[in-house]
Amino acid sequence: MDLNLIKKLVKIVDTSEITDLEVEENGLRIKVAKKLRTFRTYDQPQVVIGNSSLQESTEKIAPAKETNSAVEIAENVHEIKSPIVGTFYRAPAPDADSYVQVGDTISQGAVLCIVEAMKLMNEIESDVSGKIIKILAENGKPVEYNQPLFLVQTS
């Protein structure tokens, strides 16, 4: 993997008005995307590496060197973070409905998901009331301590 190429691509996106850049060569696809936020934090280019010829994911469990600040993303958007290490599930059972969907209004204490650790299903409750605007973790994938799971818009 050519780290220099990735560094160059990140720099291009970072220092320009471009928000999305995708490059493909020899079966290796690199996508660099910039989230534009109209509120307080700084724009951070994110690197997503996908290899279109391989099925298995090569994602690291810890995001690569992101200095994600613990500061709220915006005044009325709250991050729900995982309090434990485990596997994230959207629903109480494989064939059951998800606890929540994007757009749902939830109250404080509502169960949003399950994080399974050491064979125990831990129900993760919301610490705020509001509306789910984004689901950040993937069903069935591992999550680490304090990894953001949901974005809730509080009012």
Partner: protein, 445 residues
């Protein structure tokens, strides 16, 4: 052989283990607290999982978080390093129940060697010399006095439930005994809620000499000589060396054989260290057994040309020891570099390292996780680097140590480097004439 090992530790030892895993072709998983996000072991490992907030009890000591991290990464073994959960019988058991190989001893082994009285008794029955003492708790002062007569003064009265110097009284002669006995009982009662005491021969300012042992799963146990760890401040080791200036080949063989005998008596597997006290007359007595890899293992590695972590992993995977012990070659000394200010009572000095340069050259090894602009978190111990040197003989090693310490640059925080340079000017240390009382006297001068 293991496919993937999770290292349940941090700092220099996590790096140490990751390095050997890489050489063995084993994938590595680092776990880290939020305070260690920028730590080197996180970068070096193939995968990393954040397991909790800064405090150790919520991260490096949090068993469910560590086991869960092993599950989600598919690790088939956990290396606990030293400290933290390395000698936690509960953790060893939970690993076994979770179908993860704990690279360390069984829960039963940890429990039995962790019980100091039991360990001592086991060794004594096997024929390993132990510090002479009472056979358990003493209820009456008169009983204590006659045992003291048998052992010979000076004796020390110790709290059975105790530690940290409380509930202890040294008795130099018979006339002092009864009073000391009562005082020790009172102190033990108020400090530990248990006034039971026992008696041991008091070995004044002994040398602390430990033997490195290694047992495989086929019943073979080897020893890789000794380490002299007498230079201690408040029972914390600061300088260690191999071989010990106090041992000749004959004594080395005697102590090595005793260590192997002791390890056999408990069917020991894995790396372990048997600690002895060596008195002024070169009598040695079993103190305790540590069932883990030790901080100072590199001095043995230099002198016996062995990668102890590698052997440890091989043995845990059910394989034979690769590197058998041979005659010790040369002399090695380790200096623990702590983020502490020696001029202010060794007060911890966490903070940002603005400049670091490690010494190099032949016979110089630095085990460290620090780097330029690294911020030392205040939540964990202050060890930031180990400087280990090797020389053809002790004199050569000392000269190399002085040269290397002078090259060692760490700026932005205070370290114990200047302290080590001072010790290297002390005549007694240079001659090899020191015991566990050495540093107390050193500070007085």
């Amino acid at each position: 052989m293991f496919d993937k090992i999770l290292i349940a530790n941090r700092g220099e030892i996590a790096l140490r283990i990751i390095r050997t895993c890489k050489e063995l072709g084993i994938k590595t998983v680092a776990v880290f607290s939020e305070a260690d996000r920028e730590s080197l072991h996180v970068t070096f490992a193939d995968e990393a999982v954040c397991i909790g907030p800064a405090p150790s009890k919520d991260s490096y000591l949090k068993i469910p978080a560590i086991i869960s991290a092993a599950h989600i990464t598919g690790a088939d073994a956990i290396h606990p390093g030293y400290g933290f959960l390395a000698e936690n019988a509960n953790f060893s058991e939970i690993c076994a129940e979770s179908d993860i190989k704990f690279i360390g001893p069984s829960p039963q082994m940890i429990k039995s060697m962790g019980d100091k009285a039991f360990a001592k008794n086991t060794m004594r029955k096997t024929g390993v010399p132990v510090v002479p003492g009472s056979d358990g708790v003493i209820k009456e002062s008169s009983e204590g006095r006659s045992i003291a007569e048998e052992i010979g003064y000076p004796v020390i009265i110790k709290a059975s439930a105790g530690g940290g110097g409380k509930g202890m009284r040294v008795v130099w002669e018979r006339s002092e005994f009864d009073n000391a006995f009562q005082m020790a009982q009172n102190e033990a009662g108020s400090a530990f809620g248990n006034s039971e005491v026992y008696i041991e021969k008091f070995v004044e300012n002994p040398r602390h000499v430990e033997i490195q042992v290694l047992g495989d799963s086929f019943g073979n146990i080897y020893h890789y000589g000794e380490r002299d760890c007498s230079v201690q401040r408040r029972h914390q080791k600061l300088i260690e060396e191999s071989p010990s200036p106090a041992l000749d080949q004959k004594l080395r063989e005697k102590m090595g054989d005793a260590a192997i005998l002791g390890a056999h008596s408990v069917n020991y597997e894995g790396v372990g260290t048997i600690e002895f006290l060596l008195d002024k007359n070169k009598n040695f007595y079993f103190m305790e057994m540590n069932t883990r890899i030790q901080v100072e293992h590199p001095v043995t590695e230099y002198v016996y040309d062995v990668d102890l972590i590698r052997q440890q992993i091989l043995v845990a995977a059910g394989e034979k020891v690769e590197t058998l012990p041979k005659q010790p070659n040369g002399h090695s000394i380790e200096f623990r570099i702590n983020a502490e200010d020696p001029e202010k009572g060794f007060r911890p000095s966490p903070g940002k390292i603005t400049s670091v340069h490690f010494p190099g050259g032949f016979g110089v090894r630095v085990d460290s996780h620090i780097y330029n602009s690294y911020s030392i978190p205040p939540y964990y111990d202050s060890l930031i680097a180990k400087l280990i040197v090797w020389g053809q003989n002790r004199e050569h090693a000392l000269a190399r140590a002085r040269r290397a310490l002078e090259e060692f640059v760490v700026e932005g925080i205070k370290t114990t480097i200047p302290f080590h340079l001072q010790v290297l000017q002390d005549k007694r240390f240079l001659k090899g004439n020191f015991d566990t009382g050495f540093l107390d006297n050193f500070f007085k001068d």
